[in-house]
Symmetry: C2
Subunit: 144 residues, 2 copies
Amino acid sequence: MKIDPADIRKILRRYGLKATPQRVAVYEAMRELGHASADMVYQQASMALNTLTVATVYNVLESFVQAGLLQRRMSSNNKMYLDVNTYNHCHLYCEKTHSYKDYDDPELMLLIHNHFRNRKIRGFDLHRIDVQLVGQKRSSSRLK
Amino acid sequence: MKIDPADIRKILRRYGLKATPQRVAVYEAMRELGHASADMVYQQASMALNTLTVATVYNVLESFVQAGLLQRRMSSNNKMYLDVNTYNHCHLYCEKTHSYKDYDDPELMLLIHNHFRNRKIRGFDLHRIDVQLVGQKRSSSRLK
DNA sequence: GTTGATGCAAAGGCTTTGCAACTAA
DNA sequence: TTAGTTGCAAAGCCTTTGCATCAAC
């Protein structure tokens, strides 16, 4: 589960990013968290690199999004959330805890993809279709 | 297009809300805007009621959401957005301007609805399925 | 008359910025 | 060497809060 820092440096360079210790720590944190707010990343990454500052976390996250290494997620609580998986997938979104969970449903993706195959939207360049299953996780359960 | 204030008061009471001038102005603004941030509502509603304050707009919007008269939307720019239409519908979301446009596609809704008819998600109470067509509006075009 | 809503100003939370010091390539 | 990154602290933006006053019912 734990990734070799050398591998992370490779990934960063592949995306055209300088492999600083801060970036390695942030990406490592994102790999562990999957979906996270800036603060969650800061908490997690600080464990590995205690000189890290919040401002740097924001800078690093932004550079990752620009490079296409991470994806911003939408949220309904006015906070920034990021997703380590950039391929096209659905999410469960808990309205109470504002937590996300990947929901892989290839059949659904195909259904939607086919639906839009021959459909154009006037005046709009479609980048992706974002499907969120919005609700609440049951108390017994745990999304991450 | 312009709604009779008396009708707005009726709507508010139907949702168990006191019909204050502030609430009437805010709801009127939402009907005009369709989708809006708190600030947009404040700008718009202030035209009709210049004594309105920002704090009141936030209070009113929150009470509307609680009552089910408005729906919160997800966004990727850390701001609150609201939708005057609470029925289940898709949205075009412009990543550049963070503006929304309703995208009614009954065929797609049916497709998705059927897909989930006999599907349960373990540990999750599904409230609604939110489909966003994320992209950018072309410069020639205008979403609201 | 009650109960809840508003206005104001202040505080709060999250994010961004400017700039000097530093470092990966 | 140097172009780009980090740390720090301050500022910025959006949202919430406490409380006295006010108004809808």
